[in-house]
Assembly symmetry: C2
Homo-oligomer: 429 residues x 2
């Protein structure tokens, strides 16, 4: 995924916003611009399927899709085995002795408590140098008469959106050619020319903690937050519902005996509830059902954005899920130059394992607690913070489970956290 | 339209949020709740059509659709003629001697400078009393187990959304039965149990001016603000584009000689711009074209929400516009109990004639200037404010036109303004 985004952004930068005569390699060494990108990616667990006895494993997996951990962790074979130990769940971070991540970015991860064999989160972080054919500046070129204005920012956003779409297409081709199945969420951060671009498709989350305050940099894509998009798709393309589902939402499942009675409903255009008379097709299973963590599209998926999963079908049915599962990210832009950041201002990226048991405010409190215990110019403070966040979500082994200090269950999921300082030592300049 | 909303809300209130055994008349006299509703409605001018020599007039118009002005203006036959005079453009308000509008709401209107024979804005304002079968309170009932929570607020929003949809359906039936054509925008305000509901479909606008600050209570629906919805519809239902239009957006019209070259584009999923190779179908006319006031859907309409217009077709084509023109409003809710309002806090509703030449901030400045010239408890101050806003948008006749003090052109359109005090004399209690 990072390759796609890197390639798209590099391509864009190298062409200066104009179409180049031929694609450029993103690996050109001559530096003119340096966008670090830090994407943790959490593969979605395949949903349990009625009648198939559990998750369907990939049939054939190529060598390049075999298990690994981020290269920047510099794990030895022994270290890789320890990182893969579900009983110990040791927190992994880049070694304190080696080269730091750009901007002294902090990172920590931990494997799940046994729900899948390997850690299915993946992360990478790179500084990309590309050769610019023209000078690239933040100022957009003057649009010609009769031509819509295209800002530099909207070109970067478009390049990232395109990268997600191309990656999804690539996964569709690999599925056909090599029988590689599955899918994943993706959260990508690109820094370019003073702006941070955060692109999210799935259930990872990014927040900025600035002066103790939380600024959301992504939003969650669930059957509830995307209800109207999903209903519209089902309404305009009823063949996608296969006569099995209704695109309408009701406060509860409609019973056959209620035929002809009036009940509250919502359609793709409505935010409120109104009454309708129950007809035969309202008895079909609802396209969007359940609430909170249990909300599902077509009784199958609980996350509505992500890459891959082209083969995913409705339980006991041949209906494809994919058109409802969209690969498009929402891209939010944060202008670093609009505010003077201090060393305690950070961008925190976490996979669902973190956010399942940790609120934004709890993260902000941990940011304050951990960073205040270190000197502002100590570059190891962001790794310490990432570790504290992962430990706080994992908990400690007690009563045959992983428990938090309040005795609630910790996250048994894989957990990965990046902490990117916005005004720390070695930050952008 | 008001009848529809009144009926829907009355129905809802009378049934206490539960389905009634039989529909109730909205005209029952026993008062338990009093929702005033103040909707100015601006009929959209039919767009000029190539080849038809101008706007297509309605063929047959029933007596009940004949010209009138709001009953609360209490116009005599002579007054009606003066209100209909395009040369004088006298500002009309309810007589100072008669019964005031609820809450001492202010109102003023003026006819256009000649663009259509009559004033095509319409307004009404009513207090509705309905009999409640159960006690209605702001607190939602406890949802049953397995049943989604339905708040009282979401029931009111749904009732209003439904009212717009039913009104649109009624206009479709009247078109077929009685050859009544045309369409209009609608802006509706409902007050119920401490909350103000503002529903907008079209290019009217509502703002709250509170303590001098502007709080937008509606947003504009234009081909630009609704680009992604329109593109998605064209993408999922390509038959609506009839092979004449492309759902993709380009910064400018693509030329045949550019076939095979790369150009920036945006599709229904994108907020940024990316490159694509120009193909034959990209040479079609763009679904969304133009910018600002000149933005159009299918080269025909500049407003993308409204009622009616079921017969509207693309210039020199049989393609219908209606699926792109949606009747659904956006409903915003303002809780009056969350803030202690003073007599200078007002909700201002205006048709496009006001907003074409007046910014939100200019309205806020006029609110301050006019209201400070009256005693806080003078109930005529809101009518004076409505008149000042209409006069400020109309201007004065000079240099063969209507001109503003800065010598720019005033609005030659119909202009209607309501000013609803949120903490004034006789306000809600």
């Amino acid at each position: 995924m990072l390759n796609r985004v890197r390639s798209a952004v590099a391509h864009l930068v190298s062409s200066g916003g104009a179409p180049p005569s031929r694609p450029k390699s993103p690996d050109l060494p001559n530096a003119t611009s340096a966008p670090p990108a830090a994407p943790p990616q959490a593969p979605r667990s395949p949903p349990a399927r009625a009648g198939s006895g559990g998750a369907a494993p990939a049939r054939t997996v190529e060598a390049r899709a075999s298990f690994s951990r981020p290269t920047f962790l510099q794990l030895s074979p022994g270290g890789l085995r320890r990182a893969d130990d579900h009983a110990g769940r040791a927190v992994q971070s880049p070694p304190d002795t080696g080269r730091r991540l750009p901007w002294s970015t902090g990172y920590a991860e931990v494997i799940n408590a046994g729900k899948s064999r390997h850690n299915e989160d993946q992360a990478c972080c790179e500084v990309v140098y590309v050769e610019g054919r023209r000078s690239v500046s933040g100022a957009p070129r003057e649009p010609s008469r009769g031509q819509k204005e295209v800002t530099h920012e909207s070109l970067v956003v478009g390049a990232i959106e395109n990268a997600f779409q191309l990656m999804d297409g690539q996964m569709a081709r690999e599925r056909r050619g090599q029988q590689v199945e599955g899918g994943c969420c993706a959260l990508v951060v690109v820094y370019l020319l003073g702006k941070v671009y955060v692109a999210n498709a799935g259930d990872s989350r990014a927040i900025i903690v600035r002066n103790g305050e939380v600024i959301p940099m992504s939003r969650e894509f669930t059957p509830e937050t995307e209800r109207q998009r999903l209903q519209l798709l089902g309404f305009l393309k009823p063949e996608l519902l296969g006569g099995e589902f209704t695109h309408l939402e009701f406060p509860r499942r409609v019973q056959p005996k209620e035929l002809g009675q009036r009940m509250l409903y919502r359609d793709q255009n409505m935010t409120g509830w109104a009454y309708k008379k129950i007809e035969l097709e309202d008895l079909r299973f609802p396209l969007v059902c359940g609430e909170g963590k249990k909300a599902r599209v077509m009784a199958t998926i609980g996350v509505t954005r992500g890459l891959g999963d082209h083969n995913l079908r409705v339980c006991s049915s041949t209906l494809p899920i994919k058109p409802f599962l969209s690969c498009f990210p929402e891209v939010r832009v944060y202008d670093l130059t609009q505010y003077e950041h201090c060393p305690d201002d950070v961008l925190v990226l976490g996979t669902d394992g973190l956010w399942d048991v940790t609120s934004d405010c709890e993260v902000a409190a941990t940011v304050d607690r951990v960073l205040s215990a270190y000197e502002p110019n100590d570059p190891s403070r962001y790794t310490a913070l990432a570790q504290a966040l992962v430990l706080g979500a994992r908990g400690t082994p007690r009563d045959r489970g992983w428990r938090l200090p309040n005795n609630k269950l910790g996250s048994g999921d894989d957990i990965s956290v990046f902490v990117i300082p916005l005004g720390g030592p070695g930050s952008y300049s």
